[in-house]
């Protein structure tokens, strides 16, 4: 299969890329890792008139420690780079833990975090991960830069806050809270397939061992990745014992998830999975947070 014909630009700098995006807004697609866009073009379900290839824009492919101890990840950073980065493993271990779930190694060698967020597939892991991390997405156009919290970036089915002339240039991850833990899990028919349902959590404990903050994100059970607000409410302020975690899991399944049915799974089954996965993931995150509390004790 071959794509329909298109015009191709390969800028070397971010300024050139942004100028091209401005000039061709609406007709152009930015090409990042191409792991979703190129198959869609080969099937001819996507027929952009113009492609602007970002793979030479080296300024977008960097990972660095932010001044506050968090991370600044360039939009063109490959999944594989994130997966093997010790800096990421230290500052945002949830990203490291999520990577083995993201498709397969050959796809991770090409795919980028900015591409994944911009594509906004409801079943993708990284959009849910940035939600759970409380990260922000930096969007640039020729005339300016804005920073959108992940919770305001995903607007619907494949829909984001990204305007046609903007690029995802950076993902800003806040520093980890003390006494915090994380976990991710999903159920897929085969490893690497789109998940039937998935859950990501970041849980922080206070000095007494009660939950001080909880961000639980669900994927593949809504038209976009969503934060499970009801589940978080059930946890914050409570001691995260089995009963509290079960209450959070049932809130996630009953209130926060709004799954669709397809040939792979019914909506009811997906809802059931959300409950099971939330219980599993929150339990693991709490264990890790307790471990971190032990480690950080003087």
């Amino acid at each position: 299969m071959k794509p329909a014909s298109f015009r191709y630009f390969r800028p070397d700098t971010l300024d050139e890329a942004l100028a091209l995006m401005a000039e061709h807004a609406g007709d152009a697609k930015a090409l990042a890792g191409g792991q979703s866009l190129v198959p869609a073009m080969n099937f001819r379900i996507a027929q952009p008139a113009i492609l602007i290839d970002l793979n030479r824009v080296s300024a977008l492919a960097s990972v660095g420690r932010a001044d506050d101890g968090g991370l600044r990840i360039g939009g063109m950073t490959r999944h594989r780079t994130l997966e093997h980065s010790t800096l990421v493993g230290d500052a945002a271990p949830l990203i490291t833990a999520a990577m083995p779930f993201v498709a397969h190694p050959p796809i991770r060698a090409r795919g980028t975090i900015g591409g994944s967020l911009a594509h906004a597939d409801p079943a993708a892991e990284l959009p849910a991960v940035v939600l759970a991390l409380g990260a922000s997405v930096v969007l640039r156009r020729r005339t300016g830069t804005r920073t959108v919290p992940a919770s305001g970036f995903f607007l619907g089915l494949y829909a984001t806050a990204l305007e046609p002339d903007e690029l995802v240039t950076e993902i800003v991850v806040p520093p980890r809270a003390p006494r915090s833990g994380w976990a991710i899990d999903e159920v897929a028919r085969r490893h690497g397939d789109y998940a039937l349902a998935g859950v990501v959590a970041e849980i922080a404990l206070d000095e007494a061992g009660a939950v001080s903050a909880a961000r639980i994100a669900l994927f593949s059970v809504h038209d976009r990745p969503v934060l499970a607000h009801k589940a978080a409410e059930a946890l914050v302020g409570a001691r995260p014992d089995e009963e509290a975690i079960r209450a959070a899991a049932s809130a996630a399944a009953g209130h926060d998830a709004d799954p669709s049915a397809d040939i792979h799974a019914s909506a009811a089954y997906r809802r059931h999975l959300v409950g099971v996965l939330t219980r599993r993931v929150v339990t693991r995150a709490v264990e890790r947070a307790r471990g971190a509390a032990v480690e950080s004790r003087p």
Binding site: F43, A46, A123, H264
Partner: protein, 155 residues
């Protein structure tokens, strides 16, 4: 695929009925409709251009035939659309009931067959896509009704 649900309009049934029989209004209510014309008393034909995520500008020729009309209570539609990416065929039934406070409840139920490339590649998101388009359509109908009730909208 089944699409069904209920929606309450803040307006009288006769007015809601008129909205649903007006091709200009239906064109607004179906996301991506570029043209919709009445080609016979009970038939509309037009063109839809659907853009959704990676699917850019998939054009479909659309034909809707109304039948079993019982104004202002119920009608059914046969829907037939075809394009390079696939087809949609099916029937939809709409029932309008008078609710409290002069409101009107619309119940809709459709059974659609979707085939071709769009079904093969997009199966995973058809349901979400249908829900999203339905919601956009209902929002558009509601806006139009509000405009008519305010005395301004002419469709």
């Amino acid at each position: 695929m089944k699409v069904q649900g209920a929606f309450t309009f803040r307006g009288p049934r006769a007015l809601v009925w008129d909205l649903l029989q007006d091709p200009a209004v239906l064109a607004k209510a179906m996301p991506g409709t570029k043209r919709l014309e009445r080609t016979a008393p009970d038939r509309f034909e037009g063109v839809m251009k659907v853009s959704l995520g990676p699917v850019t500008a998939a054009e479909f020729a659309l034909a809707v035939t109304l039948r079993d009309q019982l104004a202002p209570e119920r009608f059914a539609m046969d829907i037939d659309s075809k394009g390079a990416l696939g087809f949609t065929r099916g029937t939809a039934r709409v029932v309008l009931e008078e609710a409290e406070n002069g409101e009107t409840t619309m119940r809709y139920e459709s059974e659609l067959q979707i085939g071709g490339k769009i079904a093969a590649v997009g199966q995973r998101i058809l349901d979400s896509a249908a829900r999203m388009m339905t919601q956009k359509g209902l929002d558009a109908l509601e806006r139009e009704l509000d405009a008519r009730l305010a005395g301004g909208g002419a469709g």
